[in-house]
């Protein structure tokens, strides 16, 4: 790293820290930052100034209902986890599974989803897959609404109520077919309403659909925890 190169990027440091670089500039700056000890050092030095900004605002008292609503949601979430730990679900479902290093958030996510998905399975307008009509799976996991619309050989995965992702993250869908995990080519990025969708061209033989959070550009194999795991009835 020569001095000129550093000086060029050094001008961007404060803008980067304040979140004021454009997305493309942010990616380029982060690439530089990774290998520039001077920028890293300067950033460490300036960090307390950045962290002081939110402390500078006038204090407001949050309404008590905010705490109540938050804790109700948290306790409901924790309750679900507790059910799993207490053996609420059948053992054969509780085993969970690992796919090429993917750590599923304990067996519960899979299990709860399998049950919910089967329960929520409905055949559109009395038709069936064989007859070429749409079939829909609808369920929820961790507040995320998941809908899989099957049409012919393929399907469309719709997600709603997603939280916004950090700029360096995307969602990636995966299917498990005959024990092998395959990436769904189109990555998912939640829109402003927290919705995202992707098309799965071939659903034949697929028994599970999952979504994980991955670095920008996606991954070849799942590296993050599954935020959604849907068991597809055969």
């Amino acid at each position: 790293m020569n001095g000129n190169d550093h000086n060029r990027w050094s001008e961007d440091l404060a803008a980067y820290m304040l979140g004021a670089l454009e997305p493309r500039e942010t990616v380029e700056f982060e690439r530089h930052l990774e290998g520039c000890e001077r920028c890293q050092g300067e950033m460490r030095w300036l960090q307390p100034a950045l962290h002081s900004l939110p402390e500078s605002v006038e204090r407001q008292e949050p309404p008590p209902r905010l705490r109540q609503a938050l804790m109700a949601e948290v306790r409901a979430d924790a309750g679900e986890e507790g059910d799993e730990r207490r053996g609420f679900l059948p053992g054969w479902l509780r085993e969970g599974f690992r796919i090429r290093g993917l750590r599923i958030a304990t067996g519960f996510a899979v299990i709860a989803f399998a049950i919910a998905a089967v329960a929520g399975y409905e055949i559109g307008k009395g038709g069936s897959e064989d007859e070429g009509k749409a079939a829909t799976l609808v369920t929820q996991e961790h507040g995320i609404t998941v809908k899989m619309v099957r049409e012919g050989q393929g399907g469309t995965l719709h997600l709603a109520k997603l939280h916004q992702l950090p700029p360096d993250k995307v969602l990636e869908a995966w299917v498990r077919r005959e024990g092998k995990v395959e990436a769904v080519p189109a990555l998912l990025v939640p829109d402003r309403k927290g919705q995202a969708e992707t098309t799965i061209a071939d659903m034949s033989g697929v028994d599970t659909v999952m979504v994980t959070e991955e670095p920008q550009g996606g991954s070849e194999t799942p590296t993050g925890e599954a935020i959604v795991t849907m068991t597809v009835p055969s």
Partner: protein, 193 residues
Amino acid sequence: MTVRREKAERLADEELMPLVGRKDPEAFEVLYDRHGGAAYSLAYRIVGDRAAAEEVTQEAFISVWRSGARFDAARGSVRSWLLSVVRNRAIDFLRSKAGKAPKLDFDDESALEQRPAAERTEEEALRRETATEVRGAIGKLPGEQAKVIELAYFGGFSHSEIAEILSLPMGTVKGRMRLGLEKIRGELAEGLA
């Protein structure tokens, strides 16, 4: 297995986070009680509306609950991390409301100051002194440096948008950001000396 509330209260934030990662509601509750006020205040400062601030704060804390394991102690304190989550959510909220960036009237010098008066509580009295010092540090900034920092951090504007708003070259905007942060840093360092 959850820790009891009294035990959780004795733990440092960094010790609470692994418990939050393991979905311990008591640990999470303590975390909220410690930082919920600052989080809500920051959200309110950015979005300027109580209902929206409530929504943003709730979303931010729920995302922390669901991704608590992602906290990296090497990159700063729990509080800083948490407030950065709140800030990002609030800016996302502004952008979704305004199309891209929040619409503020920058011809009006007071536009950025139009926030309701503080409703301080005893619970946050301990933070007040520090906050006052910090406000002092920011308050000592030359106006043009304070303005670009406010537009970027609290307004969510990019440096090129700020350059357009203030009719300044982009290099000048970046330079003022840098000088402003350096000056705040210097003031904080002096305060500690």
